[in-house]
């Protein structure tokens, strides 16, 4: 039984009258990759934001390695170093170049030396094929390149768990691949990850476990094979259908 990195118990979140998350419970083991899928507006982003303390919660608890994630203040700041988050729109700092973007947090927050972090940053950049872009500014990079930099920036903090929120949703199709390949590589390395995505092929390839969120609740949970091939609930079947295309009538009937 692998050690539990993240545990969520009976999490409840609402925006005023609107209940966005209701009684969410699951846990993520060391080195486990969990993919969260679900229709738009079901609360996937909100769930990740709650884990990172960007949104307050109305009930339940979130535990990182057994200790609750604080609601605010210095303690929350400390715990956030251990929770890496990659955003849909990259959110690189536009006034800093790639290297400075990566160095900022490790140097200012973890007080590591510039040389130390720089060496690591350059090694990671070359791993994602961007060693030549260290001095470039974010505006000079393509979307896919920006997202890879954002991933490296998060990795350099050595978080216990990585949260990805639809990191390819803002990308052109041909750039999706390069980013997903990086994430697949991280899965191979045994990184603990919580991934929200609409890329079902990728989800199937990368996930150890799939969580299907619908109507603010966890609707179904299981291995990717079970979830994608034999979904148990009608909701999940409906949802998966939206990703496959079929003509209702065919002029040429294929033999099958």
């Amino acid at each position: 039984m692998p050690e539990e990195v993240l545990a969520i118990r009976h999490l409840k979140k609402n925006f005023g009258e609107l209940t966005v998350l209701e009684d969410i419970s699951f846990s993520v083991g060391e080195g486990e990759v969990i993919v969260i899928v679900g229709p738009s507006g079901c609360g996937k982003s909100t769930l990740l934001r709650c884990i990172n303390g960007l949104e307050g919660i109305q009930g339940g608890e979130i535990l990182l390695r057994g200790t609750p994630v604080p609601k605010k203040g210095k303690d929350l700041t400390k715990v956030r170093q251990k929770i890496g988050m990659v955003f849909q729109n990259y959110e690189l700092f536009p006034h800093l170049n790639v290297l400075e973007n990566i160095l900022l947090a490790p140097m200012k927050v973890q007080k590591r030396t510039r040389e130390d972090v720089k060496e690591e940053a350059l090694a990671m950049l070359s791993r994602v094929g961007l060693e030549s872009k260290a001095e470039s500014f974010p505006r000079q990079l393509s979307g896919g390149q920006k997202q890879r930099v954002a991933i490296v920036r998060t990795l350099c903090m050595h978080p216990d768990i990585l949260l990805f929120d639809e990191v390819t949703a803002a990308l052109d199709p041909e750039m999706v691949r390069e980013v997903l390949d990086v994430i697949l590589g991280l899965a191979e390395d045994g990184k603990t990850m919580l991934i929200v995505t609409h890329e079902m092929q990728f989800a199937r390839a990368v996930a150890d476990r799939v969580i299907f969120l619908d109507n603010a609740r966890i609707c179904e949970e299981g291995t990717p094979e079970l979830f994608f091939d034999k979904p148990k609930t009608e909701r999940a079947r409906e949802f998966l259908k939206t990703f496959s295309f079929q003509r209702k009538s065919r002029k040429r009937q294929e033999v099958s």
Partner: protein
């Protein structure tokens, strides 16, 4: 010099008219008037030649003689102007932060201050400081009053410039910084401030130029600044063209470098705010 003029031209350059005109805040706005004056003075000059001894179209001798006086006055204007601008940047930054972080009580106070400073003329503010403070037992000299007045006026304008700059930075930038483990102060200092400054920079430059031009009302509290010198000389010698010529030249000497430097810097840091 020309005191021996026996002939009196019907005078459009009376002191009231000059004060009235000179208070307008833009060098550009003086231009038509100055050009008109040059025309009138040309006519006057011709009459003068007839009336007394030969005087040139423009009296260079006069200009050379009073150049040092203008230099001294310009130096005073620059000193007070820059100190006032520096103070107003400090005040503006603090007010903008109070507004942005919604500090209770202080927030309402700064809001009142901003409205008050932006919606009253500098002249009135100066009078309040210059004549009002001594009544309260606070002794100040004219230069400090000028500086304080400028800081009071500029603080409000700078606060608005910085506030809009801060508000223009995407919230997600801050969230991104927080998620990396930066605390509030680090996020402000390394992420919010640099972007806010670059966004509000054009407004900041415009404010600096505006404030430096506003120094022209300092003469009202008998500071020996450029405007005071010009008005003094006109009053004494009626050398309107020469006095105003020097005035415009010196204001341009002060403001053009600021304006040029602003444009250059703007170009350099333009991208800082818009990268995504």
């Amino acid at each position: 010099m020309v005191g021996d003029m026996g002939y009196h031209f019907p005078h459009v350059f009376g002191n009231e008219a000059i004060i009235c005109y000179l208070r307008s805040d833009s060098v550009v706005r003086w231009l038509p008037w100055i050009i008109g004056n040059i025309g009138l003075s040309a006519a006057q000059g011709i009459l003068r030649i007839k009336a007394s001894r030969k005087a040139g179209f423009v009296n260079w001798e006069f200009i050379m003689k009073y150049l040092p006086l203008y230099q001294k006055a310009a130096w005073l204007t620059v000193r007070i102007g820059l100190c006032g601008v520096a103070l107003s940047v400090l005040i503006g930054l603090m007010c903008a932060l109070v507004q942005h972080y919604r500090v209770p009580l202080l927030r309402q106070l700064t809001a009142c201050y901003i409205e008050l400073s932006r919606n009253t003329p500098l002249l009135i503010q100066l009078f309040f400081i210059y004549y009002g403070l001594p009544k309260l037992g606070i002794k100040t000299d004219a230069p400090s009053c000028g500086m304080a007045g400028l800081a009071f006026l500029g603080g409000g304008y700078m606060a608005e410039a910085f506030r809009s700059g801060i508000e223009a930075v995407d919230k997600a930038q801050m969230e991104s910084a927080y998620s990396l483990g930066l605390d509030r102060w680090q996020t402000f200092f390394y992420v919010l401030l640099p972007q806010a400054v670059s966004i509000s920079f054009p407004a900041f430059v415009a404010n600096v130029i505006f404030l430096l031009k506003e120094t022209s009302v300092f003469s009202a509290i008998s500071l020996m600044d450029l405007m005071f010198t010009a008005k003094d000389l006109i009053g004494l010698y009626y050398q309107t063209v020469e006095s105003l010529f020097l005035l415009v030249v010196f204001y341009l000497l002060i403001l053009l470098p600021v304006s040029l430097a602003g444009t250059l810097l703007e170009r350099r840091i333009r991208y800082a705010g818009f990268g995504v």
